[in-house]
Assembly symmetry: C2
Homo-oligomer: 526 residues x 2
C-alpha cells in the first residue's frame, strides 16, 4: 500500500518514516483508503531548514508578493472545490452542501482574499513615524510559522488554508502546516493547490510545507526550535498546553485557541418577551454542526423563574426531538462522553440525552444538563468542563447577585452573550452583570448566539486563558490576526534609502501610517 | 529600629512580616538607615484583593480619570525632586546632577505626562468599527498589573513611577509595584506621592500599592494569581524566567526585559572615515552610567584590518585612561566579574581591565575583551554571556561572510547598530549584513550608539528572546507600550447605548478610530 508523500522544500517527497495512519469515515467507522506518514524528527528538521531558507530569501519582500500568492491560491481552491468537498465530507461527515461547499469553503476563500488585500495594503504593519526624532517602526515578518489545524474546521482553520495560514502568509512568513490527522486527504488536496500557486507566483521552495503527523515530543521540539518564528494552534487543551510550555520556555510566541464554553446569560425580560423564540434560537445554535464549534453555547445562565422553567422544558423537548448529528469521529464521541459524565459526576442533572449513539456513526445524544448556582459555585472548576459537541449546561441562579458571582467564578472564554428585553426593561440588570462578563470574554454579544464568527476587522476570536494563551490577540479578523505573526521593528536614525518602502518619506501606495500621532495616507512632511 | 510600612489598599500599614532588609550605599558599602520589610504571602494576597477591587470599581472609566491621576502625580514628583535625588543618589551612587536630577527624573515625569495624554486621547485603544456587521472592538484594561522595577533606573523604570507603571495606569489598571530592593527609599518616596495624587484624583484605595520584597516563591505565586491581569518585569534573566514560567503556565501575560548585549557592527568605510571619532563615541556610550544600561554596547563586530586594529588600540587606551565609575552595588560587581570571567574562560582575551575595583566603592575596571569570529562561532552561547556594566567584547571577523555568520549565531537583542561610510562606500556590505541583524533586534540604528532610548511612539525597546519574552511588544514608546496592559474586547451586535463611549457612533472627543478600514477622527456615518 503506497504511502502519501509529505510536502517538503517545494517537492512532494516520500516520508523517511515507517509509521503510518489512516483517517476514519465518522459516518461509517471505516478506515478511509489513503495511508499517511508520521514524520520522524529528521524530516521535521528538514522542513524547518527549508522554511528558514525561504524566510531569509523573502526578507523585505513587499506585501504584493504575498497577496499575489494568496489570490492565486484562492482561485485554485475555487477550481478544486468538488474534490475538496468530497474529501472533507468523507473525512468529517460534515454536510457536503449546506456546510462544506456553501459555507465553509467560500468563507475560507474569502479569508485568503481578505488577507491578500491586507498584505497588499501594508496597513497591517502599523507603520509609525516620529519625524522629529527620525525613529520609525512597523511590524514585519516574524519568521517561519507552524500552524496546527483543529478537527472541526477542515477548511477555515486548516493549517494549510485557514485563518492562521492566511495571517502568517500575509505577514510575509513561510508556513509549516501540521494537518489534523482526522482529515489528511483534505489537507493534502489544499497543499497540492498551495504548492502550485506558490510555483506560479515564484515563491521560494520552503514557503508552504505540509506534514501530517508527528510524535508528541517532536511537536514540542518543533515549536521551540531556534529557527521558528511563531506557532498558531487550534485544538484540545491538553496538547496545546504541552506545546505552549515548550514554546514559552524559549520565548517563541505561540497563539492557542484551547477551549471555551461560551456563557449565555438570559435576563427575565427576554424570557417574558420571546421565551419560545429563544428556545428555538438556542437549540439551533447549540446543535448546529452537532455542536462542534469553538463558540458553541455550552453554558446558559439565568435567574430561576416560572419563565426560565418553561424555557428549560422547551429546550429539553427540542433537544430530544432534534435529529442527532454525526460527530467528527470516535475521539470526539469519547471526549464528549467524558465531558458530560464529568459534569454529571459533579452534580449536574441530565435533563435529556447523556449517552453515546443516537445518530449515524460517531454520535452522542443531544444532551441538556442543569445545575444550580450553589452547586456551580462550590465546584466551579469541574462544572466548567468543556463538553465539546451537542451538549449544554443550564445554571439556575437564585438572584442577579448570585448570577454575578457565577460569572466571577468563570474562567476565560471566547464569547459571552446577554439576551435582554428589547425595550429596556432589563437595562439595570444588564449593567449589573456585564462588567464581570466583559473581563472574561473576548467577544460580548447582545441578543445573538455566539456561533457565527464573522471575518471582520473588529472581530475578536480570542479571550482570556484558557480560551487562548493571551487575551490581546485574535485568531479571526484582518488585520488584527496578522499582528500575531509580526515582530516589531524600529529604525533609529536609519538612512532614508535603507528604510523599508513603508517607512520612507514618500507614500505612493497610500499606506495608512501614524505620523507624529496622526493617522494618514500622506507622505511624511519634509 | 522601626520598619517602614508597606502601601496596601490605600494606606501605609505595618507589614505583618518579620524579615527585614536594608539598602546599601554602593559608594561606601555601608547599610543605609531605612529598614524595610519582606512581605509574606498573606500580605501579598491582601494587596491582590485590594487591586482586584480597584479594578472592578474602575471598570469602564474614561481615560480622562487616569490622565488626571498621572498628571497630578507628575506634578507632585516634580515638587519632591530634591528628596528623590538625594535618596536615589545614596541608594544607587548615580550622579545626582547629570544623571538623576537633570536626565532621568525629567524623563520619568515626561513619560507620565505622555502616558496621560495617551490615556486622555483614548487612541491607544485602537477602536475598530465594522459598521456593516455592527461589530466593534478596542483594547481595554486587562486587570491588576504587577510591576517589578530593575536596579539600574531608580526613576524611569521604577515599579511605582516608570514606563511600565505609566503604561499600566494609562490602560486603566491598578498597579502593584514591587520595588527593587536596592532602592527602597526612592520607591517609598515615589509611593508617598502616588498615594497623595491618587487621593486627590479620587482613585480607589487599591489603585497604587507598594511592597518592597517577597520570598522568591511568592513572586511566582503573585504573577500567576487568578486575579492578576498582567506583569511587567525588568531585571535579571534568571529571576525573570522563573516568573515567566509561573505566569505562562496559567496564561497570564508577562512582559519581560531580560538581557541584551546590543551588537554594534562597524564597516570598513566608517573606520576609514572617522575611526578615532568612533573610538570616542563607543567609549563614551559603553562607559556612560558605568555601562549599566539595558542597551549598553556589549559586543562590537568588524572585519579585521589595520584600521580595526588601530580602533581596538584606541578604545583600549581610552578604557584604561577613563575614570572607573561606581556600580549599583556589590551584586552588580559580582555579576560583572562573573560575566567577564566567563567570556575569558571561553577564549576571549582581556585587553584591559578584568578585575574588580578601580573606582569608589562597588566597582570594576573598565574592561575590554577581544576574540575572533572563529572562536565565537565555536562557542557562541558562552561568548554571548552578558557582562552587565562597563565592559565590552570585540569580535574580529575574517570576512563579511563570517560577520554574517556571527550575526546568525546571535540570540535576540534589544538593539543592533551599523556604522558605515557616510558617502555610501559601505552600502553593498550594509545590504549583505543587515537582514541577519534586523531579524535579531528590536531596534536597528545607523551611525548612532544604542544607549539613548527616546520616548517616542516609534521606539521599540523590545526584541526577540532572550532580550524580552515576545518580539511584538515594546516597553518604551507610547501608545505601543500601553497595549501590553490591555485586552482585546469585541462587541457584537451590542446596543449603541451600551457601548463604551469610544465605540459609539458619535465621536465628540475626536478619538482616532479605524472605521471600515480607514482611520478617522469622525463619527460613524449613519
Amino acid at each position: 500500500m503506497s504511502v502519501h508523500p509529505v510536502l517538503v522544500g517545494g517537492e512532494w517527497v516520500s516520508s523517511i518514516g515507517s509509521k503510518t495512519f489512516q483517517a476514519v469515515n465518522p459516518a461509517t467507522g471505516e478506515a478511509l483508503p489513503g495511508v499517511y506518514p508520521v514524520s520522524p524528527w529528521p524530516e521535521i528538521e528538514r522542513v524547518i531548514q527549508a522554511a528558514a531558507a525561504a524566510s531569509k530569501e523573502m526578507h523585505g519582500w513587499p506585501g504584493e508578493r504575498f497577496a499575489a500568492f494568496l489570490e492565486r491560491y484562492a482561485a485554485r481552491i475555487e477550481a478544486r472545490k468538488a474534490d475538496l468537498v468530497q474529501q472533507a465530507h468523507l473525512e468529517t461527515a460534515l454536510p457536503a452542501e449546506g456546510r462544506l461547499g456553501n459555507t465553509e469553503l467560500p468563507r475560507t476563500i474569502n479569508q485568503l482574499k481578505t488577507a491578500a488585500a491586507a498584505a497588499r495594503s501594508e496597513s497591517w504593519r502599523c507603520p509609525t513615524i516620529d519625524s522629529k526624532a527620525n525613529i520609525r517602526s512597523q511590524f514585519a515578518a516574524i519568521g517561519p510559522v507552524v500552524v496546527f489545524g483543529p478537527n472541526n474546521f477542515p477548511y477555515a482553520f486548516n493549517g494549510i488554508s485557514g485563518g492562521d495560514f492566511a495571517a502568517a502568509v500575509a505577514a510575509g512568513n513561510p508556513v509549516i502546516a501540521k494537518a489534523h490527522p482526522s482529515h489528511p486527504g483534505t489537507s493534502r488536496t489544499f497543499a497540492e493547490e498551495a504548492l502550485e500557486a506558490a510555483r506560479e507566483t515564484k515563491m521560494p521552495a520552503g514557503f508552504v510545507q505540509l506534514i501530517y503527523r508527528t510524535e508528541h515530543a517532536d511537536g514540542a521540539k518543533l515549536v521551540s526550535h531556534p529557527l521558528i518564528g511563531a506557532t498558531g494552534y487550534t485544538g484540545g487543551r491538553h496538547t496545546g498546553l504541552v506545546l505552549k510550555e515548550a514554546a514559552d520556555k524559549v520565548g517563541k510566541p505561540i497563539y492557542l485557541e484551547l477551549s471555551s464554553i461560551n456563557p449565555v446569560v438570559i435576563l427575565p425580560g427576554a424570557f417574558a418577551e420571546r421565551g419560545e423564540k429563544l428556545a428555538d434560537e438556542f437549540t439551533s445554535s447549540c446543535l448546529m454542526g452537532t455542536g462542534q464549534f469553538c463558540t458553541n453555547p455550552g453554558l446558559v445562565l439565568f435567574v430561576k423563574s416560572p419563565a426560565s422553567e418553561q424555557f428549560r422544558d422547551q429546550v429539553r423537548q427540542k433537544f430530544a426531538a432534534a435529529p442527532v448529528g454525526t460527530l467528527l469521529g470516535p475521539s470526539v464521541t469519547k471526549s464528549l462522553e467524558h465531558g458530560v459524565k464529568t459534569l454529571a459526576a459533579h452534580g449536574a442533572t441530565i435533563l435529556t440525552g447523556g449517552e453515546a449513539g443516537g445518530g449515524k456513526g460517531a454520535s452522542f445524544q443531544n444532551t441538556l444538563l442543569s445545575t444550580t448556582a450553589d452547586k456551580f459555585l462550590s465546584d466551579a472548576e469541574a462544572l466548567q468542563t468543556e463538553a465539546f459537541g451537542n451538549a449544554s449546561l443550564f445554571v439556575e441562579c437564585s438572584s442577579p447577585e448570585q448570577l454575578v458571582r457565577v460569572l466571577e467564578a468563570m474562567e476565560g472564554n471566547l464569547t459571552g452573550c446577554v439576551y435582554s428585553d428589547s425595550n429596556g426593561a432589563d437595562d439595570a440588570l444588564y449593567q449589573q452583570i456585564v462588567p464581570a462578563l466583559r473581563q472574561r470574554v473576548g467577544r460580548l454579544l447582545n441578543d445573538k448566539m455566539p456561533t457565527g464568527v464573522a471575518v471582520s476587522a473588529a472581530m475578536n476570536h480570542g479571550g482570556p486563558f484558557p480560551a487562548t494563551g493571551h487575551p490581546g490577540f485574535t485568531a479571526v479578523g484582518i488585520p488584527a490576526a496578522i499582528h500575531r505573526f509580526g515582530m516589531l521593528q524600529s529604525y533609529d536614525n536609519v538612512r532614508e534609502a535603507r528604510l523599508p518602502c513603508t517607512l520612507k518619506n514618500k507614500n505612493p501606495g497610500g499606506v495608512w501610517r501614524s505620523i507624529d500621532g496622526a493617522w494618514t495616507q500622506a507622505d511624511v512632511p519634509v
